[in-house]
Amino acid sequence: MTFSPLTIALLAILVLLGIGLYGLLAVRNLIKIVIVLQILGKSALLALIAAGNASGQINLGQSLALTVIVADTVVAAIGLALAVQVRRQLGTLDARELGKLRG
């Protein structure tokens, strides 16, 4: 397998995706879960740009990547707001504590 910039970008996408999946399974802190989601979003962003580069339609990749950046930022803002409110109401940032809530 010859290493081209596209191959290296694909490897980076895969490794970031693997780290993000591991983080989603291993992390319990709510703010850290937002950080893990950011890592996964960056992997998707790089995938779109690499796909645009590979297909020769980099502008299409850029327009899709813009949507991903906006969605990723909104996810971070809303996720952090939820984490802060959970901390205020329950006094913890542990995701496992949320499972003990009763209606």
Binding site: F3, S4, P5, L6, T7, I8, A9, L10, L11, A12, I13, L14, V15, L16, L17, G18, I19, Y22, G23, L25, A26, V27, R28, N29, I31, K32, I35, V36, Q38, I39, K42, N53, S55, G56, Q57, N59, L60, Q62, S63, A65, L66, T67, I69, V70, D72, T73, V74, A76, A77, I78, L80, A81, L82, A83, V84, R87, R88, Q89, L93, R96
Partner: protein, 185 residues
């Protein structure tokens, strides 16, 4: 050039690992900002200069500010907690998914470039107008999220005060406050 690509990729992987493994949330946020900066450079080298600038300003700037602000409000709770899923199983699942994706994705080769492609502006405003409108809605949702981040705990305290008021009006002998007073030695 390939060495630069390799160094950028290794740096991104190291930043992502350190962002997850760091025990302090502020330090994790800073590693995430470093990851965004390296990603912006890689995107720039791949030919997407505009998205690289936006990623650098939004990913490494705005999101980091939001994260540090949230950590400042919620507190830098120690992250040394036992994971939900055993660590070995997490690594195993991550590696299996990675291997499967690599099996399918890595043989891809670059396609021949089309003769002409529309500009980014025409793609955004004509070809993907609905997406742009949805992005505007998403940005409003983000603003509401930031307002939730900034909202103080006053409404909850006011609700508790309102709950306590009828008990006070009933008299000092009844209600939760009187009961609390009786329980104290």
């Amino acid at each position: 050039m390939m060495i630069l690509y390799g160094c950028l990729t290794l740096g991104m992987v190291a930043c992502a690992m350190l962002a997850i493994r760091s025990s302090r949330l502020v330090v994790s946020s800073l590693w995430l900002a470093a990851l965004s900066a390296l990603l912006a450079v890689l995107i720039y080298l791949l030919g997407a200069a505009r998205v690289a600038v936006i990623e650098l300003s939004v990913g490494a700037g705005l999101v980091t500010v939001l994260l540090v602000f949230a950590v400042g409000i919620a507190g830098d709770e120690a992250a040394a907690q036992k994971p939900l899923v055993p660590r070995l199983l997490s690594w195993g699942l991550g590696l299996v998914v990675l291997a499967l994706l690599g099996w399918f994705v890595l043989p891809l080769v670059a396609a021949p470039s089309p003769a002409s492609q529309p500009s980014l502006a025409s793609l955004l405003w004509e070809g993907r107008a609905l997406d742009v409108l949805i992005q505007v809605v998403l940005i409003f949702c983000g603003v509401l999220g930031v307002l939730g981040l900034l909202a103080s705990a006053v409404p909850v305290e006011a609700a508790k005060r309102e709950q306590a008021l009828p008990a006070l009006e009933d008299g000092p002998e009844s209600g939760p406050i009187a009961e609390q007073g009786r329980m104290q030695p």
